[in-house]
């Protein structure tokens, strides 16, 4: 515990865990923006609902971890598709502001719906038995390992889907040119639904891992986490998948390092100032490229 190297290694591990969870949520923001140029502000609340689905699966059905994760991801994906069909699709040709207001409304609806059933913070029972290994002074818990590796796996799968599969090609095509792609026979509605399903499913996975790592959940937990993931997506370059992941790990890293170096009270102040500065220097984010608006 004495060497500074060990100390920083431990903090990097902390940053990786936090960054993984932000990344899974940031991906949903980025994918939806990429395909619809719309900011889905209800996404943070989908993450919250995911955590509550995980809570229900673990307490009422008493399912093991893998099943809980699968059920949560599937149910969240379904919720994502439902939200898109009911709330966003009718507004696809309406002004962008209307869609954003609708998204905020959907978020508030989800919060208050959950609040009606669970007015108190709930405790999620431990789904996995935790083991902590001491590796030369650095403590690595099995939970950290699962959160980080599972997130990375999901991100790699997503990257493969978007780059190598027909669905991924269709997604990128719609993102590139929404008017002529349908003329080529691409089922736009289906692809948009799939995008929402993937984004919400990842938020559900994030909700599960969040309630493993921080087992107190409440209806408002999605707001701050959602904002931070959204910022991560913007910093990385919203609309790009790798950008969202990079942005999320930067955000997690900065949060942890600020607390490590400064009084912890300064965390959010420094984090948000840094991000604002970054946006001023690179308005389109780290991996984003300026898009020419067609008139």
């Amino acid at each position: 515990m004495t060497q500074p190297g060990v100390y920083w290694l431990q903090q990097i591990l902390n940053a990786l865990q936090l960054g993984s969870i932000y990344a899974l949520i940031a991906l949903g923001y980025s994918m939806v923006y990429g395909i619809l140029t719309m900011i889905n502000f209800a996404h943070g609340d989908v993450f919250m609902v995911g955590a509550f689905i995980c809570f229900l699966a673990a307490t009422l059905l008493k399912l093991p971890f893998v099943l809980t994760l699968l059920i949560t991801m599937t149910a969240s994906a379904g919720l994502g598709v439902l939200i898109e069909r009911l709330a966003y699709k009718p507004l696809r040709n309406a002004p962008r502001v209307s869609a954003i207001i609708t998204a905020l409304g959907v978020g508030l609806f989800l919060e208050n719906l959950t609040l009606a059933f669970y007015p108190y913070p709930q405790h999620v029972p431990p789904l996995l038995h935790n083991v902590t290994w001491q590796l030369g002074g650095v403590a690595l818990s099995s939970l950290q390992l699962i959160v980080i590796s599972l997130s990375l796996t999901l991100m790699l799968v997503l990257d493969y889907v978007v780059r190598r599969t027909p669905v991924g090609v269709a997604m990128r095509a719609i993102s590139w040119d929404k008017t002529s792609v349908p003329l080529m026979g691409v089922p736009v509605n289906l692809i948009i639904s799939i995008t929402f399903a993937i984004g919400a499913g990842l938020a559900g996975a994030a909700g599960t891992m969040y309630s493993l790592a921080y087992p107190v959940i409440d209806p408002y937990m999605g707001i701050m986490v959602g904002w931070k993931a959204f910022i991560a997506a913007v910093v990385g370059g919203i609309g790009t998948i790798r950008g969202a992941v990079i942005g999320a790990f930067i955000l997690g890293g900065v949060e942890i390092m600020v607390v490590a170096l400064l009084p912890s009270t300064y965390r959010d102040l420094v984090v948000f100032s840094l991000l604002l500065t970054l946006i001023v220097i690179r308005p389109h984010g780290i991996l984003g490229s300026p898009r020419v608006q067609k008139v």
Partner: protein
């Protein structure tokens, strides 16, 4: 001239409506009271209770409400209360403050102006008790908080003098800080302490700061003084920092929800040091949600069920019979706050707010469930002892007493 005459007799345009509404409310209230009371001569006196039923600490609010209802039910069963030779039945008006400062002030106002209660018991957490106490003081209404330990609750923040209408049933943060610092340096023989607290919450903040002062005065050193903000869930960076400072003990003056998260994360990170807690730990919920991570920890508390006095045993048995669980310290303190208020009502010269406050200020001692409560004249803070508890196989076990 005509106009001024009519103003003299009647209120302007808006008033008749409110007078009419008041009349409606009053007649409804009278009708309700008429239905409830069997004996036609019996009159009702209203007591307000502000409790944390929703928000971050629902277990605190539930305990407090249970104990208040138990006290009122017992009193009414025994025939109510006699004030200045007249018999009254007591009615409890319970309000939820959502464990929030603004809502506490709002419901305190409502109880005083709308429900016209004679006195208020609660809120419990300091973050709500401080604003509610300001309202009570401004409206010259007696307020007794069962559980708020922050000095600001009973202090006039403008000039540092004690508030005139605010009392509490518990000890204060400076005393708790002294007790814990003394216990850590004395019994535990520890010299290095780390502190992690919520900088946005009144009681934890003052407890952390007062603990640092007294601990350093006693020759200890605070090697890490870390903060977080209400709602934070990830404490890994702070805990890693604390771990590298190599403390002997870690002081966590936090409410039970936070403690559960912090303790689990600390153990997961390989932190094995003894955890020390404040009186905010005492909810049984803590053990349930911390998954064994607070086992062996010590904390300061207001009373211990395993060294209960006969008065306390009676209360514990009645509470267990009615609610099926052991009363925690909030329940015991609420019961004592109600007891203090009943005593003040009994000795009051008239069933009026000012008279009840004066009677409360005249109480020198009261044998409560949480021990003897003594007041020094001119102060709303009682002089009473604290206990140190340890979490042992999931139960709170008494370790030692600390006398002021």
């Amino acid at each position: 001239m005509d106009q001024s005459d009519s103003v003299g007799q009647q209120s302007p345009m808006k008033k008749p409506l409110s007078v009419f509404l008041n009349f409606l409310v009053l007649s409804a209230a009278i009708a309700l009271v008429g239905c409830g009371a069997r004996a036609p001569k019996e009159q009702v006196i209203k007591i307000g209770a502000i409790v944390e039923l929703t928000g971050d600490m629902p277990a605190v609010g539930a305990s407090s409400r249970n104990a208040a209802e138990l006290a009122v039910a017992a009193l009414n069963r025994a025939g109510g209360i006699t004030i200045a030779g007249k018999q009254y039945r007591v009615e409890l008006v319970t309000e939820d403050n959502g464990a929030k400062p603004d809502q506490s002030a709002a419901v305190a106002n409502k109880l005083i102006t709308q429900d016209e209660v004679i006195a208020i018991v609660g809120p419990n957490a300091s973050l709500g008790a401080i604003p509610a106490a300001e309202i009570a003081e401004a409206n010259r209404t007696l307020l007794i908080t069962p559980w708020s330990t922050n000095p600001k609750t009973t202090m006039n923040t403008a000039n540092g003098a004690p508030k005139q209408y605010v009392f509490r049933a518990c000890f204060t943060d400076p005393f708790e800080g002294r007790v814990l610092a003394g216990f850590i340096t004395g019994q535990l023989g520890a010299k290095r302490a780390a502190v992690l607290y919520d900088v946005a919450s009144e009681a934890p903040k003052s407890q952390a700061e007062l603990f640092r002062q007294t601990f350093e005065k006693l020759g200890g050193s605070v090697v890490a003084f870390e903060t977080y903000t209400t709602g934070d869930r990830d404490f890994s960076a702070q805990l890693t920092k604390i771990q590298s400072a190599k403390p002997d003990v870690i002081f966590l003056p936090a409410y039970y929800n936070d403690v559960g998260l912090i303790a689990q994360q600390a153990r997961r990170q390989g932190i094995t040091q003894t955890l020390i807690g404040s009186d905010a730990w005492s909810s049984p919920e803590l053990v349930k949600m911390s998954q064994g991570s607070v086992e062996g920890s010590y904390f300061a508390n207001h009373y211990a069920t395993d060294i209960a006095t006969p008065t306390a045993r009676e209360f514990i048995a009645a509470y267990q019979q009615k609610y099926g669980k052991t009363p925690d310290d909030v329940a015991a303190l609420t019961y004592d706050a109600m007891g203090l208020l009943f005593q003040a009502l009994k000795t009051a010269a008239a069933p009026e707010r000012q008279a009840v406050r004066d009677a409360m200020a005249a109480i020198a001692g009261y044998p409560g469930v949480t021990g003897d409560i003594r007041f020094t004249p001119g102060s709303g803070d009682p002089v009473k002892s604290a206990v140190i508890m340890q979490v042992k196989s999931g139960q709170f076990a008494w370790v030692t007493n600390a006398v002021p």
